[in-house]
Subunit: 182 residues, 2 copies
DNA sequence: ACTAACATGTAATCTGTTACATGATTGA
DNA sequence: TCAATCATGTAACAGATTACATGTTAGT
């Protein structure tokens, strides 16, 4: 499902054939998402059937040959709709975060202002979650119910991750020089 | 698959019935993993069939009634084996990270030394990945191929996340007071 | 000549979700 | 008495992976 849209996004960059799409897919989003041939080729078929992409076959005689796929206008519309749905991502769990990041890859296709708005929306969601987790932690600490060491460690991990996303968003929105990588 | 082992871990804490397991499951690991009834109850069935858990029915007359599940010795053995497999998690992508964190929840069941070893192993994997990503970034910067703003932002995001896990592990291993949450 | 990577595709299988069905218990 | 939550379970469906099958191209 998500793979379909990533394919559209990649094809907006330039026309590609299946194998190439997979490589690019994994180069860009490898840590968030992977795609297998067993889902890639059926996905391409579906997209073609829906009219979102068209294919051109390069057949050298009878060999199956490469098929290059092109994004259609309908496909572009579908891509934009999907990108704008980033507005509806209201959680910070693993799935929601992946869905947001997968869209982010293609934010440069949107008008600058819109990308910014989507980031601001994400910021409110992340901040809310951060406060929620912070509250959970304080509750545990106040009850002196220290409990399990590793479970506390996991809560710590989650809070750190959310805080990291929070400051990443702040830097991105403030236009600060991005590679603040120490 | 993973849910099965989390269930074993939760039942080692104390016997529970299905509904309770789901609640506890989500309270602890909600940001990493969720379980639906459509997988929970079949999973419990499978575990019972495999002899990893046994059930006691509390039937008030003819009502379906609650079923309380208990971990067996075989189940405990399976749980330990799974926890020790944390050794084999050699990547830092979303799936691998989730698998590691899901195991971490139950590390307190292992001898202290073993938990530490698993964390050290994770540390080497994370550090390696961090260096790899750092290299990728430098390569991009050196080529002056600044390219897409948002794609760079995503690389930044990934590196920050890995760095956060890195310092979390350092703090955890050094026994530093965990809630370093500012 | 051989190996690795390029390139496409399908079928069996596995896993998990959604929606549905049922009924008990508890508190307003 | 009514709604919410507790509690268990199944069947249809959706999605994705793995393994297989096939053939090309490029480099050593």
């Amino acid at each position: 499902m998500l793979a379909q849209y990533v394919i559209l996004g990649l094809l907006k960059e330039r026309p590609m054939h299946g194998y190439e799409i997979k490589q690019r897919f994994e180069k860009i989003s490898g840590l968030f998402w992977k795609v297998s041939y067993g889902s890639l080729y059926p996905a391409l078929k579906k997209l073609a059937k829906a009219g979102f992409i068209v294919q051109q076959r390069f057949s050298s005689k009878d060999s199956p040959g490469r098929k290059v796929f092109y994004l259609t206008e309908e496909g572009e519309t579908a891509l934009y709709e999907w990108l704008r749905e980033a507005h509806d991502i209201g959680d910070v769990d693993r799935n929601s975060t992946n869905e947001f990041m997968l869209r982010l890859i293609f934010f440069s296709f949107l008008p600058e202002k819109e990308g910014r708005e989507l980031l601001l929306k994400r910021q409110t969601v992340v901040c809310k979650k951060w406060e929620e987790m912070q509250g959970k932690l304080e509750e545990i600490e106040s009850r002196e119910e220290k409990g399990d060491y590793y479970k506390l460690a996991m809560l710590d991990y989650i809070i750190r991750m959310i805080r990291t996303e929070k400051s990443w968003l702040e830097d991105l929105l403030s236009g600060r020089d991005m590679p603040s990588f120490s």
